[in-house]
């Protein structure tokens, strides 16, 4: 190859990379993820200190401890937060804790219903609704709701999602306000969410708060760890780490679904592809610069 041919080839490659239709990138990404889903690619995960702290908090509570779990998310962030909810709920049930499910998001009722159907009723039929867990559901009011139940649960929740009077439920015996709870778990994808639970509940009552957030929101919560948030699950990775912690801590228990662990394989493949595209983009830029200098 002569020097002129070599320069012409580099020029074509550089122009090709610079003018590559972005839809090819979408297609490549979708194909890579689809293939890794079908091939069931999985990578082993180990819990990070942030996730381990959350796990230990649930693990070390005495059996019968009451945990308020707020599912403050919508279907758009369900892929990241639902695996966290499933894993923490399983953990709480295994340890014999009482679970109080509620939401400050109007879409929370559907999320709570899924958790009840898929995990609590199906996997723990011996832990009866009303005795081991209760679904209080959504109420409007945002942070004012948190503020209200910090002082008095009854003022906002007279009945559960099924219409049963809260006064008759054994699971709520001795729980008159948030201060009577042992742990607050907030799984959130926006406002109101984890931040509001820290500001309006945890910091005021002293009840420890453990949180889970979407990947987008996680960096915002890192400064709160470990004093104001005692454990943090960040995005799908955090959920996968919690599933791994549960597997390690309770080897006899079989997790029927491990959506986060299943999702991290395709996630890793997609990330590798994105890194490859970034490298290719930079190579293209360097080739263009060299071409400009040559002319």
């Amino acid at each position: 190859m002569t020097g002129t041919e070599h320069t012409a080839g580099s020029s074509r490659r550089a122009t090709g990379l610079a003018t590559l239709d972005r839809r090819w990138i979408y297609l490549a990404l979708a194909a890579a993820i689809a293939l890794s889903i079908v091939a069931r690619i999985r990578f082993p995960d180990t819990p990070s200190p942030l996730v381990q702290a959350a796990y230990d908090r649930v693990e070390t509570l005495p059996p019968g401890a009451s945990i308020v779990m707020a599912l403050d998310y919508s279907p758009s962030s369900r892929p990241e937060l639902e695996p966290m909810a499933f894993a923490i709920a399983r953990h709480a049930m295994l340890r014999g804790h009482r679970l109080i499910l509620l939401s400050t998001w109007d879409t929370g009722n559907a999320m709570i219903a899924r958790l009840c159907t898929e995990v609590l009723r199906r996997e723990f039929p011996e832990r009866r609704e009303g005795e081991a867990w209760v679904a209080l559901g959504y109420k409007s009011g945002n942070e004012m709701l948190i503020n209200a139940i910090r002082q008095d649960f009854d003022s906002m929740y007279a009945s559960d999602m099924e219409g049963r009077s809260c006064a008759d439920l054994a699971v709520l015996a001795g729980v008159e306000s948030l201060a009577d709870c042992t742990l607050i778990v907030s799984l959130s994808s926006g406002t109101p969410g984890l931040k509001e639970w820290v500001l309006f509940a945890g910091d005021v009552t002293g009840v420890p708060v453990v949180g889970g957030s979407t990947g987008v929101g996680t960096p915002e919560f890192l400064p709160y760890f470990p004093r104001q948030i005692r454990g943090l699950l960040g995005g799908l990775k955090g959920a996968a780490e919690y599933e791994a912690a549960l597997e390690l801590g309770h080897p006899d228990f079989h997790q029927r679904t491990m959506a986060a662990t299943d999702g991290m394989g395709p996630q890793a493949v997609a990330h590798s592809l994105i890194v490859l595209f970034i490298v290719l983009g930079n190579v293209g830029l360097l080739l263009q610069r060299r071409q400009r200098r040559g002319t």
Binding site: R23, Y26, L29, A30, I33, A34, I37, V38, A39, R40, S76, S77, R78, P79, E80, D106, T107, N109, G137, Y138, K139, S140, G141, E143, M144, N147, M156, A158, S159, G163, S165, A167, V198, L199, F200, D203, V204, T214, G215, V216, T218, P219, P223, Y224, R227, Q228, G234, G235, L236, K237, D262, G263, P266, Q267, A270, H271, I274
Partner: protein, 230 residues
């Protein structure tokens, strides 16, 4: 791999798959299918929020407490709540908000708006001051040199604390505008910018992970629940 197509027979799944593909079609270009999915989403969301708000909050927390007999209309076994006439005030404020629907009565909605903004600002000021300002200062006041139980220097933890302290100081210096950024001061501020860049990079990385998680979930739904390939 289970092998072969096992198409779902559920109408719900087919509707979900169709809407997913309609939204994905935007990646090709804007088109009527995407617009249809978008409008369905907006309409269903608005109706859902309205109906849910009525039955989960307005009915049990306001109407049933002002008119206790109403509680038995929906759930005959429910315990009849006691009268709470104090709720008339928030109900009236809520009704005033509807004044926005007509140009001549818009002014009525300013009262509940003022009430909502005032109480929210008051509550938030105290809480943010306590949790985001004072508590964060407290969290930042950590010793830079950490010793292990054996009395040795815990290098990793000490380094982590030193970076935290350094990053905090450099960041504050960057946002100090009462002194011109020159000489050593400018170098410290520049280091603050570097720390911020790392933070933005972390945030972007997490955002990529979040978006890919959504795509993985949707493809999992299409390939598994809809097509039965997995």
């Amino acid at each position: 791999m289970s092998g072969g197509l096992h198409l779902s027979s559920s109408v719900e799944v087919w509707v979900g798959a169709a809407l997913t593909l309609m939204v994905f079609s935007y990646l090709w270009r804007d088109n009527p299918f995407y617009k249809l999915a978008e409008h369905v989403f907006v309409g269903v969301s608005a109706a859902y929020v309205m109906v849910l708000g009525f039955w989960t909050t307005l009915w049990p927390n306001a109407i049933a407490k002002l008119w206790p007999g109403a509680a038995r209309l929906t759930t005959p076994e429910a315990v009849e709540p006691t009268h709470d006439w104090a709720l008339l005030l928030p109900v009236i404020l809520g009704l005033l908000m509807l004044g926005r629907l007509h140009p001549r009565t818009v002014w009525l909605s300013r009262w509940p708006t003022a009430f909502a903004i005032g109480t929210s600002a008051g509550y938030n000021l105290v809480r943010y001051l306590r949790s985001d300002f004072l508590a964060q200062i407290h969290s930042g006041m950590t010793p830079s040199l950490i010793a292990t139980t054996g009395g040795r220097l815990a290098l990793g933890e000490s380094l982590s604390h030193a970076i935290l302290l350094g990053g905090t100081i450099c960041g504050i210096v960057y946002f100090t505008y009462t002194r011109q950024h020159r000489g050593a001061w400018a170098r410290v501020a520049g280091t603050g910018v570097l720390f911020m860049m790392v933070t933005f990079g972390t945030t972007f990385g997490y955002t990529v992970m979040a978006r890919i998680s959504l795509l993985v979930s949707r493809l999992h739904f299409l390939l598994g629940t809809w097509l039965g390939l997995i």
